[in-house]
């Protein structure tokens, strides 16, 4: 389980979190920057900005970031999530001051010059996503109506302390990590907020990915209660429905039905709150309503053993932030308490809620959720989830 983080709110609105851990062999500094709901042009701007940030800042070049990362064996990353821009640098022990300097300088002095942004725009525009990546984040990005100057304006509008949370963890004494961040970021007070360029904020446009006979079905349902108790219940339901090979999704659709190879349930970030998403790909004939019906039937037959399995999966697998969703709760890879994932999640949660992450409270709420409530919540979610698109008629009938 992830240990408790300590949170400070600085005078400029920036949130700083710290988790000292003498047992760790790396130091991580992670930042989460709150994104608004992005139109296709806005998503292109966010991806262009992320690419520009990967080049480093005026003070610390990309080459220096890579050297720091390679000494720790973990590459630095800048990713665009649905509701956040995530920046992370993992460095060798003893390098917490250096890592804090790099991330702070990137937030304060990003290279938003025309040359870097033109290069970033071209790189981001060429990025290709495979079908499953597109299934998990099907938002369309429109690069053609975005110029470098708009991406620069977007960066200036976005990178402000009140939109940011920064976390630090690693083998240092209590207070040292937070102090390193505070010294570098407490006087960060950019000029009065600029305007978000017209057309970047707006409703995302989702496109159904498709290749040959392969189609994707995706259902979503908003989840707005971000209290620790509600998150604990949501975590348990997600675990029972979609985490591991004993989950309802895996058993009903793959093991018993032989219908699918890949099916995934997630809790994703949204500009407002979170959302459940259930994604499945299928090339053969498929009646989506029947498949959902068989899944509901499976959930209806859940017993105390299913609840215990879901709780055991929670203990096994902590949530981790991915670039396409905040809490990836499914998958079959062993859970590993990777400190850089913990740092990223802590920054994200503070950015999202203003609170320090308390997985102990989530876990307690999950344990307090009885079988009947687990079943009811899951059935209700499956009943109310909306199909994101019509994947096509020839195979779905």
């Amino acid at each position: 389980m992830i240990a408790p983080w300590v949170l400070w709110v600085l005078g400029n609105g920036l949130r700083v979190l710290e988790l000292p851990n003498p047992g760790e062999s790396t130091v991580t500094v992670a930042a989460a920057v709150r994104l608004p709901e992005l139109s296709p042009s806005g998503l292109a701007a966010a991806r262009t900005l992320a690419e520009a940030l990967r080049a480093g800042s005026s003070g610390f070049s990309r080459a220096r970031w890579l050297v720091e990362g390679s000494l720790a064996g973990v590459m630095p990353s800048v990713e665009v999530a649905r509701d956040a821009l995530l920046v992370r640098l993992t460095a060798a022990p003893g390098r917490h001051l250096v890592a804090a300097s790099y991330v702070a300088d990137l937030l304060r002095n990003p290279d938003l010059g025309r040359e870097n942004l033109q290069r970033a725009w071209e790189t981001a525009r060429r990025e290709r996503r495979d079908l499953w990546e597109s299934a998990l984040d099907p938002r369309a990005a429109d690069f053609e109506r975005l110029g470098p100057s708009q991406a620069a304006a977007f960066g200036r509008w976005l990178l402000r302390p009140e939109r940011v949370a920064v976390s630090i963890c690693g083998p240092f004494a209590a207070g040292q990590g937070a102090s390193a961040l505070k010294v570098r970021l407490e006087d960060w007070s950019p000029q009065a907020p600029s305007r978000l360029p017209h057309g970047l904020e707006g409703q995302p446009v989702e496109q159904a990915p498709r290749r040959g006979d392969l189609r994707v079905w995706r259902w979503t349902l908003p989840w707005e209660d971000l209290s620790d108790g509600a998150m604990g219940r949501a975590w348990l339901v997600a675990s029972a429905l979609g985490s591991g090979k004993g989950s309802a999704l895996f058993r009903a659709w793959r093991v018993e039905g032989g219908l699918t190879y890949r099916q995934e349930l997630r809790i994703e970030g949204r500009a407002e709150g979170l959302a459940w998403s259930l994604t499945v790909a299928r090339s053969g004939p498929w009646r989506a309503e029947d498949a959902l019906g068989s899944l509901r039937g499976w959930v209806g037959r859940w017993t105390e053993a299913d609840r215990r399995r879901a709780l055991a999966m929670i203990d096994r697998r902590g949530p981790s932030p991915l670039n396409d969703g905040v809490l990836a709760l499914t998958g079959v890879e062993p859970w590993r308490p990777l400190p850089w994932e913990e740092a990223e999640l802590a920054a994200y949660w503070a950015m999202k809620t203003g609170r320090a992450l308390d997985l102990g409270a989530w876990s307690a709420a999950a344990r307090d959720t009885p079988l009947e409530e687990l079943r009811r919540t899951a059935l209700d979610a499956l009943q109310r989830a909306q199909l994101a698109w019509d994947p096509g008629s020839s195979n779905s009938g």
Partner: protein, 385 residues
């Protein structure tokens, strides 16, 4: 049964302990300690020597892996997940790898699951058809990296590089009797290696394994058929929009493999977003660098490295050493290395490779880079728009 304690391997923690024995069935069993590890992991390696991939039974081992991993009662995952443990299974050209992992406190459950994996599977027509349907969906989703890797292997080694994933036609020919026959040929003592990577209590784990696991009997499988890499070349792939550079290397414990691994990591570090793929084996294979999104990033990075400083090249060797050291210090990954090495009687290759990497200088990395030059290496250029 003979117990052969040996000195802990160099890559393990200083106070690591290991026990090994050969079961009467011929199975090679090792229990290695990883002090401080938070989980335990049982690695079962099943050699492919008797059944290399051929066009006639292309993918059958992969299909069998799917069926075996379900467990004889199709509830193995449920049993493991109930205690926070889990199972993964993968089929490679030279072996299959089953991995049971979980909290060390659940050791008995994990060993019981391993014992179930070694029981003959129950394969009926209905189950077979259902699993084939799942595999068709798996095939439909396949794109990018695995497709490009399969292409590189086929071009480098011809039929000897055939991808174990299989194709629909050959898979559809498999009958329950075929698969049970395949199981008997593969799951026999001398063709099996178990490496248990545990935090502590090595002797206790060894006792559980001796008490609970019934090894199928059988002679050693023939050695892997020899495969030879042809000269490199350049290819296009419409299933892929990135780039792949692959260099042929001999067995895992050679200087050439160490040099190629360090060079591959140097290329990958220069081309951000790239990654290195190498499956440990005692047979000739490929060290590949992949960039999922850019066809030219790898070649550009390789050219940049032609003028790299001694220090940059030396740091690539250090990175490669550190990478393998981490692999061998992690219970989730170490067992595969030791298991593969032990398939044909040895277990020292991982340490030998580590020694070669740690002794690598800038000149050695340069030699590795030459393996990725045009004419030497395979370059797959993604053509998908």
């Amino acid at each position: 049964m003979v117990w052969l304690p040996w000195i802990a391997a160099a890559a393990m923690a200083a106070d690591g302990e290991a026990l090994g024995w050969r079961d009467r069935s011929g199975a090679n069993v090792q229990v290695r300690s990883f002090p401080g590890a938070r989980i335990a992991c049982l690695h079962l390696v099943v050699g492919a020597g008797a059944y290399p991939e051929t066009p006639q039974r292309h993918g059958w081992r992969h299909l069998l892996e799917h069926l075996v991993a379900l467990g004889p009662e199709r509830d193995l995952d449920l049993k493991l997940e109930a205690v926070g443990a889990g199972l993964t299974a993968d089929t490679y050209r030279d072996y299959a790898h089953f991995r049971v992992w979980g909290p060390a406190s659940e050791g008995r459950t994990m060993v019981a699951a391993l014992a179930e994996l070694l029981r003959p599977p129950k394969i009926g027509e209905a189950l077979l058809r259902r699993e084939l349907s799942v595999m068709r969906e798996e095939a439909a989703l396949r794109e990018g990296e695995p497709v490009a890797l399969a292409q590189a292997w086929s071009n480098a080694f011809g039929l000897g590089g055939l991808d174990p994933f299989g194709d629909e036609e050959s898979l559809a020919r498999a009958t329950p009797a075929d698969l049970l026959g395949l199981w008997s040929g593969l799951f026999r003592g001398a063709n099996l290696v178990l490496v248990a990577c545990v935090p502590d209590r090595v002797r206790e784990w060894a006792s559980w394994i001796r008490e609970s696991v019934v090894w199928p009997k059988g002679d050693a499988a023939p050695p892997l058929p020899r495969r030879t890499a042809g000269p490199g070349g350049r290819l296009g792939s419409v299933a892929f929009s990135g780039g792949l550079l692959a260099a042929a290397v001999p067995a895992m414990d050679t200087d050439a493999t160490a040099q190629a691994l360090a060079a591959a990591l140097a290329v990958a570090a220069k081309a951000e977003g790239a990654r290195v793929v190498y499956t440990p084996t005692r047979a000739p294979s490929l060290v590949s660098v992949l960039h999922e999104r850019s066809p030219n990033a790898l070649e550009n990075a390789r050219r940049l490295l032609e003028s790299a400083s001694q220090r940059d090249l030396q740091s690539a060797a250090l990175r490669a050493t550190e990478w393998l050291r981490r692999q061998l210090a992690d219970p989730l990954t170490a067992g595969l290395w030791y298991g593969v090495a032990s398939l044909h009687g040895s277990s020292s290759e991982p340490e030998t490779l580590l020694e070669r990497l740690s002794g690598l200088n800038a000149e050695g990395v340069k030699r590795g880079l030459r393996r990725f030059e045009p004419g030497e290496a395979w370059f797959i250029e993604g053509l998908r728009p």
